[in-house]
């Protein structure tokens, strides 16, 4: 399976142990924080950089391989390129500072900055979702979803049924993959070529795969329903729960941290606080110092937390 949106990887980290409902909240909170805007470029780099640092630190804490995140970005490189071209040829109205020229076209600093901002946000979004899916089992995500959907019971939305359907679907994914493999082998043995050939024969090939899969899935669900009914399942009736989600101490920490980050960014943005660079220090030295500072903080924090864990 591809590394897009990261499959669950089993480690025992602070973030893995967090309650999935809390992780959902934190994910949303941090996503909003990523999209907050600031009045000046300096502020964007300083505050945006701080948020990014926080997220990278979380990734490291969760033992997510940053390399895998960039692998999923590889898929988006085309989109990124398109973005940059658009921004170059349609610069923002207040663009003034010219960086360089390509023939007769002016490439403004503002345009470059704008594209970088969008790309950075994209990267952070992917990092956040990977963080969630790599540290939370799909079934736990389902339980969290069920909990969030609970209020919908008021309008008679079948919350429990939806959650049960999703969890059964998840349980059967490996089984269905095996079955697809088996059917492909059986049809290949009859001369079906899934990889070469004209469009019409390849279409037929796919039909020879999908129909048996569908039919067996229908039979499977019938047998499963019979079994569930025989075991006394009634979605409308009262039933107890084996797996219960519990908030732990770590959840309070996580919740508070993310809330602070969200609140902080909103406050900084609304009050339009600005940090002005001293005139004698060129902007690029400042940026370098900033980047170095953030990397140092990330490394320190992760080292401290890891040592504390041992």
């Amino acid at each position: 399976m591809t590394a897009i949106l990261g499959r669950y990887v089993n480690h025992d980290t602070f973030i893995h142990r967090m309650d999935p409902r809390n992780k959902f909240f934190c994910l949303v909170a941090l996503m909003v924080a990523v999209f907050i805007s600031y009045p000046t470029y300096e502020m964007t780099f300083i505050v945006g950089g701080a948020v990014a640092t926080f997220i990278v630190a979380l990734l490291l804490l969760a033992k997510v391989r940053i390399l895998d995140v960039f692998k999923s970005l590889r898929v988006l490189w085309f989109f990124v390129l398109l973005l940059m071209i658009i921004n170059v040829f349609a610069p923002p109205a207040n663009a003034v500072n010219i960086a360089f020229n390509i023939g007769k076209v002016h490439v403004y600093w503002e345009a470059i900055f704008q594209s970088l901002k969008i790309i950075l946000r994209l990267v952070l979004m992917i990092m956040l979702t990977t963080l969630l899916t790599a540290t939370t089992k799909p079934l736990d995500l389902t339980y969290a979803l069920e909990w969030y959907m609970a209020p919908l019971k008021v309008i008679r939305f079948p919350v429990h049924e939806v959650a049960m359907t999703i969890s059964i679907a998840l349980r059967f994914i490996p089984t269905l993959l095996d079955e697809t493999d088996r059917i492909m082998k059986a049809q290949s043995s009859r001369g079906v070529d899934f990889k070469h050939g004209k469009i019409s024969s390849r279409l037929k090939a796919i039909v020879s795969l999908i129909i048996p899969l569908f039919i067996s899935s229908f039979q499977r669900s019938e047998e499963l329903a019979d079994s569930m009914e025989a075991r006394g399942y009634d979605p409308k009736a009262k039933r107890t729960r084996y797996r219960m989600l519990k908030f732990g101490g770590g959840d309070i920490v996580g919740f508070l941290l993310c809330s602070v980050v969200l609140a902080g960014t909103i406050v900084i943005s609304s009050f339009k606080w600005v940090y002005t660079t001293p005139h004698f220090v060129p902007w690029w030295i400042l940026s370098l110092i900033l980047v170095f500072l953030y990397m140092l903080i990330t490394a320190l924090v992760t080292a401290v937390v890891r040592r504390h864990r041992k």
Partner: protein, 271 residues
């Protein structure tokens, strides 16, 4: 004590051919009954009728003093457990634990008691080391044992095995048969109804009911049925090895006195 009583049951899928045609019998406490018949004789339909997944056109089923009807079916299901043929298509939970818990959740067992029950019954089927394993990492025999644990955890009075070993390899078959043996030893009052076409399995039971084209053509203890080999020939089921050997030897003019076991037969032949 009669736990289940079936009287003149008739069922048809398409209203033309009767898959079950006027079947009558009863299940008593502590008995191990096998229902045999070739594929298509109506065996599996029978299991579904007993547990109320299908409704018969005529005749009646009485279980635990209640008539089988839409009002009583839930109460009846509390006391009957059923293990189906396909190990995958009855495994609901994400792990062994969750699957055994599924039945407990349905019966509103209190959350605090669940872990103890799950551990107890997983041990009974020797699956305690696999409690956190997912079904794709289990063999057919292991999955069927989990199904058995899930059924036993609800303390049924009758357990139905609907061709529960047909899809298993020899090892899986052995594991399930061992489970059934242990079940009987631990709970002598438990009634077992095994639907199968495997005669070696059927001959381990107390009573055999032979179905052919929806009708009962034989209902007796295994030893007694063997005195009437025509019944088996009609259903085109194969006799167990030992009995086949005795019959073939008889055809060759060799009558045996002691037919208790293959070892005895060999001894007698070599004298």
């Amino acid at each position: 004590m009669k736990l289940i009583e079936v009287t003149n049951l008739t069922f048809s899928y398409d209203k033309k051919v009767n898959v079950i045609d006027g079947v009558s019998f009863s299940v008593e406490s502590g008995k191990y009954i096998s229902i045999i018949g070739h594929n298509g004789s109506g065996k599996s339909t029978f299991a579904k009728l007993l547990i109320g997944l299908l409704e018969a056109q005529s005749g009646e089923i009485k279980a635990f003093g209640l008539d089988m009807n839409p009002q009583n079916v839930h109460e009846i299901r509390r006391k009957i457990g059923i293990v189906f043929q396909n190990p995958d298509n009855q495994f609901v939970g994400a792990t062994v634990r969750d699957d055994i818990a599924f039945g407990l959740e349905n019966r509103c067992v209190p959350h605090e008691k669940m872990d103890d029950i799950i551990n107890e019954f997983a041990k009974k089927v020797h699956m305690e080391e696999f409690l956190d394993k997912e079904p794709e990492n289990l063999s057919g025999g292991q999955k069927q044992r989990v199904a058995i644990a899930g059924v036993l955890a609800l303390s049924p009075e009758v357990v139905i095995f609907d061709e529960a070993t047909s899809m298993l390899d020899p090892r899986g078959k052995r594991e399930v048969r061992e489970c059934i043996k242990e079940m009987r030893k631990e709970n002598p009052n438990l009634s077992i109804l095994s639907i199968t076409h495997d005669l070696e399995e059927a001959f381990a039971s107390d009573e055999i009911i032979v179905l052919q084209e929806g009708k009962v053509v034989g209902h007796d203890k295994p030893e007694n049925l063997l005195e009437k080999p025509e019944i088996f020939e009609k259903t085109s089921l194969d006799l167990p090895f030992k009995n086949k050997l005795i019959k073939e030897l008889k055809d060759q003019g060799i009558s045996l006195k002691n037919t208790e076991s293959i070892e005895r037969i060999v001894e007698e032949l070599c004298r």
